[in-house]
């Protein structure tokens, strides 16, 4: 364990989207040259423009580009990079990739391949945690590769059960199965989704704990084998196991439980000599019992809320530790203040069962002002590709207390506009205004309950303003097109509805 001391001057970011933009920002602040890689559809993507060098690594589908470790390493060598930052997703939890990076004489900014292998394989991690005396959710002791076996184990455990990708995270390849009739289709789709997302279709099964809280501890391991923890994140606002809102601190636990979880999390990280940023996920029940769920051996999507409340830059810490420096923080230096909430903005249509909604962004308006942080991977004039995750931005608010952060985030969402594609912006706002969320009394099933309840209509005043705006726009269009082309059929509405008008009209 421990990494050789070596100053890092140039880092290749093996990722795309908002996380690649975010990593590049810290690198530039550290006077380290950020290097991007990009697929054929990402030439003008913000992450490429956020870097000082960039190399193409293949066609749009991720298995032919962002998941190709060999292409990434080749680009890093060509660039003369010292290190590779994997971001999250893609190659970030691929132990073979870590070994290949190190074999190529490069530094991998993250844990060792060994720590990743133990903690990254959910089944091996469970065994490790059990040996360390940490409570775990009941489940299969290993991967299951045929549907008959899955059904047998599920019958023994009792439904409902959860299928999970062994290599997974972020809800990809995960299916909640209520009874045996759903198993065939769930098993097929979980494996296929896992294969696409992680290049590994291994799945395992766990007993489902109904309406639990998902509370995770941010840990950070040093080269001396010691770890610190930086508070928790509450990730219980989920839809189909995808986190939608995250916040810190969590209202589901008290300070005593929080500290106990933090200590357990550090022990777990130290057990595998974990180096760098990692996250120990727990499920908690209503009695504040906590069960080890999994460890994410990478920088987490929702890391900004921790950064806002702890006043640290986790990416900077990752780079420092990777170049052999001691941990930037002692446990007693880590002081958590205020409250931070993050929402994930997705290119998806909540009114159509959250169908992905890729497409051209005509204009992007992002919020500003006190206490707001936006990590965004798209821009005006950019085509959101159909090939990757639909998350296009994370919006975070910090305030001295929870309700202040919540109001701030609602305000920020009201200022936001993503023109040209459908997003879940209003859905997020509704969630922040949901009674259960306001009161902090929510669980992982709250969103589904809200969805069933339906929508409130805007006030008459707002409707009037909308009608007037629409009529004024229509009137202006009609007078413009009458001047330009007298034979216009615009009265049918088809002219201005076509994409041709939308983009051509800008000329």
């Amino acid at each position: 364990m421990g990494k050789p001391s070596r100053r890092i001057n140039k880092v290749l970011i093996a990722n795309r989207g908002e996380i690649a933009v975010r990593v590049a920002r810290t690198l530039r602040e550290m006077d380290i040259v950020p290097v991007a890689v990009y697929s054929d559809v990402d030439r003008i993507a913000p992450h490429v423009r956020a870097c000082y060098e960039a190399y193409p690594i293949g066609p749009a589908p991720a298995p032919q580009s962002y998941l190709r470790g060999d292409a990434v390493i080749e680009a890093a060598k060509k660039a003369g990079a010292d290190a590779i930052h994997p971001g999250y997703g893609f190659l970030s939890e691929n132990a073979a990739f870590v070994e290949a990076v190190e074999a190529a004489g490069l530094i991998f900014i993250g844990p060792s391949a060994n720590a990743m292998r133990v903690m990254g394989s959910k089944t091996a991690a469970r065994n490790k945690m059990k040996a360390a005396g940490v409570p775990c959710v009941p489940g299969s002791e290993g991967a299951i590769d045929n549907v008959e076996e899955v059904k047998k184990v599920a019958d023994q455990m009792g439904y409902p059960v959860v299928l999970k990708a062994s290599a997974g995270g972020g809800g990809k390849g995960m299916r909640l199965v209520h009874d045996v009739s759903e198993m065939d289709s769930a098993f097929r789709s979980a494996r296929s989704e896992a294969k696409n997302a992680f290049g590994d279709d291994t799945v395992y099964i766990e007993k489902a704990i109904i309406n639990p809280h998902h509370v995770e501890i941010q840990v950070f391991g040093g080269n001396d084998g010691k770890a610190v923890w930086l508070g928790e994140r509450e990730c219980s606002m989920q839809r189909r196991h995808q986190k939608v809102i995250e916040e810190t601190p969590s209202l589901a636990i008290n300070e005593e439980v929080r500290c106990k979880m933090g200590e357990v999390a550090c022990r777990a990280a130290e057990a595998v000599n974990y180096v760098g940023a990692g996250t120990i996920e727990f499920l908690t029940d209503s009695d504040m019992n906590f069960y080890f769920l999994e460890m994410n051996t990478r920088l987490q999507v929702e890391h900004p809320v921790t950064e806002l409340c702890c006043g640290v830059d986790l990416v900077e810490g990752q780079v420092r530790v990777a170049q052999g420096e001691p941990l930037p923080w002692k446990q007693e230096d880590i002081v958590r203040t205020g409250h931070a909430i993050e929402v994930r903005l997705y290119a998806e249509d909540p009114s159509k069962n959250f169908m992905p909604a890729p497409g051209h962004i005509d204009e992007l308006i992002l919020p500003h002002g006190p206490g707001i942080r936006v990590d965004c991977g798209v821009a005006s004039g950019y085509d959101v590709p159909q090939h990757y995750d639909p998350m296009i931005a994370k919006m975070c608010a910090w305030a001295e207390d929870r309700d202040g952060a919540r109001r701030r985030l609602i305000r920020a969402l009201s200022e936001t506009a993503v023109k040209g594609i459908t997003t879940n912006r209003l859905f997020l706002r509704r969630l922040l205004e949901l009674n259960e969320f306001v009161a902090g009394k929510y669980h992982t099933g709250s969103i589904a309950e809200m969805m069933a309840a339906g929508d409130a209509a805007p006030s008459d005043e707002i409707l009037d303003a909308g009608v007037i705006a629409a009529a004024v726009n229509r009137y202006r269009r009609d007078s413009r097109s009458t001047r330009r082309e007298p034979q216009s059929q615009s009265s049918s509405g088809t002219l201005w509805r076509s994409h041709g008008w939308r983009r051509g009209g800008r000329a």
């Binding site: 069962n353 159909q386 707002i462 303003a465 909308g466 009608v467 629409a470 509805r497």
Partner: protein, 170 residues
């Protein structure tokens, strides 16, 4: 100008008269309002109605139904028709059948990862037909009703644009 504005399920009669540049008299269902409307950019409008300021960001509805207006954190979808196209639309709705063949179209650009039925196959309502993948999520397109699969043009691994008809249920 006289328009009909469709707002959700509601229909509003709108009469709009430009008094001078940027100033309008608007009558909505008989209520008279005086409006100062300034275009800040192509899709940004600043409205003043009786001292109230509304900053309005608009976009063409990606689903093709009029425009979406973002106003004070809310979004209102409005489709404006002139009287003639309103009449045309009503006539169409009256003659259009509901029992005709159901076209199954790709709801988003993506890749076809599985075809679950065959040409000529009898399917039940809710039965999965084609699986389309976009943004790492798989979406199973289900049959809207019982019938027979016809014109199955979907091909496995093909990339499809939004709206492309993949098969028809008759």
């Amino acid at each position: 100008m006289n328009y009909v504005a469709l707002v959700g399920e509601q229909k509003r009669q709108v009469e709009l008269t430009e008094l001078e540049d940027g100033k309008f008299r608007v009558v909505i269902d008989g209520r008279e309002l005086f409006v100062d409307a300034r275009a800040v950019a192509d899709t940004t409008l600043s409205l003043m109605i009786d001292g109230q300021v509304y900053n309005i960001e608009s976009e063409l509805d990606p689903a093709g139904h009029g425009e979406n207006f973002s106003i004070r954190g809310e979004v209102v979808n409005v489709e404006v028709l002139d009287l003639r196209s309103m009449q045309l639309r009503q006539a169409k709705t009256l003659t259009g059948g509901v029992d005709g063949p159901a076209e199954i179209a790709a709801p988003m650009p993506g890749k076809i990862v599985a075809i679950l039925v065959e040409e000529g196959q009898q399917v039940e309502e809710g039965q999965g037909l084609v699986v389309v993948e976009a943004m790492k999520m798989e979406n199973e397109l289900k049959s809207p009703r019982a019938g027979v699969v016809k014109n199955l043009t979907a091909q496995k691994d093909a990339t499809v644009e939004s709206g492309l008809v993949l098969c028809v249920i008759e």
